[in-house]
Amino acid sequence: MARWEPLLDELVRERGHALVGYAFLLCGDTAQAEDLVQDALVKTFSGRLGAEQVRSAESYVKRAILSTYLDGFRRRKHWAAIRHLSAVPDDDGARTEALVTDRMHVFQALGSLAPRERACVVLRFYEDMTVRQIADHLSLSQGSVKRYLHDGVRSLEHALGPVHLEDGEEIETTPVQGRRTR
């Protein structure tokens, strides 16, 4: 058995659930999230992983999920649009009605964002990355990230109300003047 195979198995068993959750935030569909994770795992493990990289395989897979999602969006736009309109998170019956309603609102608001806006919002508010880290992660300028965050957060606030930021947390939401690259 090749060296990477036990790691693949371990990663899927121990972190598969979390990876699917991360992918779900990006794509908004559980089945597609699982496919994204699978494609990302194949992509990551098809490369030559060094010993040090093995330890951080999860972060490589997350990065691959993100790039696969962003790269594939145009190809999948048609069906993604349908899913976002039709898919609704299941009610497991254990949560309060208010929580479920909130969740649905967040789901729908998130689904209305453009892919890069959505990616920036997820990296900022779910992965807790700074603007600089997001810029590094997506190979964008910090100005572009700020613009995506600004547009994304404004869209979310339009649907959800003011977004709460933790004490000391800052996010520059000043729109950057100029062109939009995408």
């Binding site: 190809r75 497991d92 967040v106 190979s139 964008l140």
Partner: protein
């Protein structure tokens, strides 16, 4: 009252990941399939990598990589439940699809990943099968295409058929072959079944010989039983490159700049125009070792900001002391990334493998290939520029021809 977005996203992620009670099992069950794909990719990544990396960028310019609806992306049309056995699929008529764009076929629902079993309420593609073209090459009898269909977990096949489409650079079907449904050959419990078929290399429109670079898409139609319930599905593979007639035997993907056994560039002053992109590469100071990571920093000259599709790994041409190209360090990826190079440079990074030029000018690569001595290393990436904004703020769309962005050469040592 303000909204706690972080907590809401955590809740939503957990909900999304838990929507299926068996989601972990579903992913875990697919580890075997993933491992198969990984093994094939790792085995195939050597010699073809240099060519494919360049072609991948070129393909983006031509639209091949944007073929909608043919990728096994697990996104199918929502389908109504059909509890009755005897489900049918609209047939793909190989004569009628000739000359149609793949986008048209997708619009007709003929190509999109399709999976339906009795009792299903919608697309649940993680449970679906998977089609893959394993290889395609021209020979004396036509084009031999190797196809593999991977079964959904718990499924047993009764019949399997393939439709193989040859697609040109514009995404139009120029050749098609249907094998017809036949008994499935895999024994019970098999996870995949493969077949090899031979395509004619003439156009389906007028029997003209096909020449140039094409893609092959395999579309599997599978019938069988899964968990005691009849199922059928149609799944389309990713496009697989196929070169037919008139292609030079020795691929020259880099416009004559780097060709096996031919002279390398005379100096950095004779390099072709890179459209304003620049490259700096971080090569190992010590003798190169298999798998060594090579990081490239892509920038833009003259204060411009450039959006471009760039090969996700740096290739390094190795020029021997006689000034001839002796081999390449090929990246472990053929992916292309959309990068923005401007006030902040963008980076690409990948592990590297060695491929050397044999006396016939062919690249030879494997884990066992070694060379010795010191070579002049020319790192480069291929790119297709999408948008350029000059320092003065003027934006324009550059030509979509691929460019080669070459870094300054350095001396690189190899030890056996």
């Amino acid at each position: 009252m303000s909204f706690d977005l972080s907590r809401a996203l955590e809740d939503l992620a957990e909900t999304g990941a838990s929507r299926r009670t068996t989601d972990d099992e579903a992913l875990t069950a697919r580890v075997g399939l993933m491992a198969s794909r990984i093994r094939r990719r790792r085995a195939a990544r050597y010699v073809g990598t240099v060519t494919v990396a360049a072609c991948a960028v070129g393909a983006l310019a031509l639209g091949i990589a944007n073929l909608p609806g043919v990728l096994p992306d697990g996104t199918g049309p929502a389908t109504s439940p059909d509890p009755a056995p005897g489900m049918t699929l609209d047939p793909i008529d190989t004569e009628q699809v000739c000359g149609l764009a793949l986008t048209d076929l997708e619009a007709q629902g003929l190509l999109a990943h399709y999976a339906e079993s009795a009792g299903r309420t919608g697309p649940r593609t993680a449970d679906a099968g998977f089609a893959e073209v394993m290889g395609a090459s021209e020979d004396a009898d036509g084009a031999t295409v190797e196809l593999e269909y991977f079964l959904p977990s718990g499924a047993e096949l009764s019949e399997l058929g393939w439709t193989v489409l040859v697609v040109d650079a514009e995404g139009v079907v120029v050749g098609a072959l249907e094998t017809g449904l036949g008994p499935a050959v895999s024994p019970p419990g098999a996870t995949s079944t493969g077949t090899t078929t031979t395509l004619p290399t003439t156009s389906c429109a007028g029997d003209e010989p096909l020449e140039g670079r094409f893609s092959v898409v395999g579309v599997a139609e599978a019938h069988g039983v899964r968990d005691g319930v009849p199922f059928l599905e149609r799944v389309a593979s990713e496009p697989y490159p196929l070169e037919l007639g008139g292609i030079e035997e020795t691929p020259d993907p880099f416009g004559g700049l780097f060709t096996c056994n031919a002279p390398g560039p005379e100096s950095i002053h004779t390099l072709p125009d890179a459209g304003g992109l620049t490259l700096a590469a971080d090569l190992p100071a010590a003798p190169w070792e298999p798998g060594a990571q090579i990081v490239g920093t892509v920038g833009a000259a003259d204060g411009a900001t450039i959006l471009a599709n760039v090969s996700a790994g740096v290739t390094v041409a190795l020029v021997d002391p006689d000034g001839l190209v002796a081999g390449f360090l090929v990246p472990d990826t053929v992916d292309v990334e959309l990068l923005e190079a401007g006030d902040k440079p963008a980076t690409v990074s990948a592990g590297s493998s060695l491929a050397t030029c044999d006396p016939d000018g062919q690249l030879v690569g494997s884990d066992e290939v070694t060379i010795d001595g010191t070579y002049t290393a020319w790192p480069f990436v291929t790119a297709v520029l999408k948008e350029v904004v000059t320092a003065e703020g003027e934006a324009f769309t550059p030509p979509s021809e691929p460019v080669i962005v070459v870094a300054n050469p350095v001396e690189l040592a190899f030890s056996g």
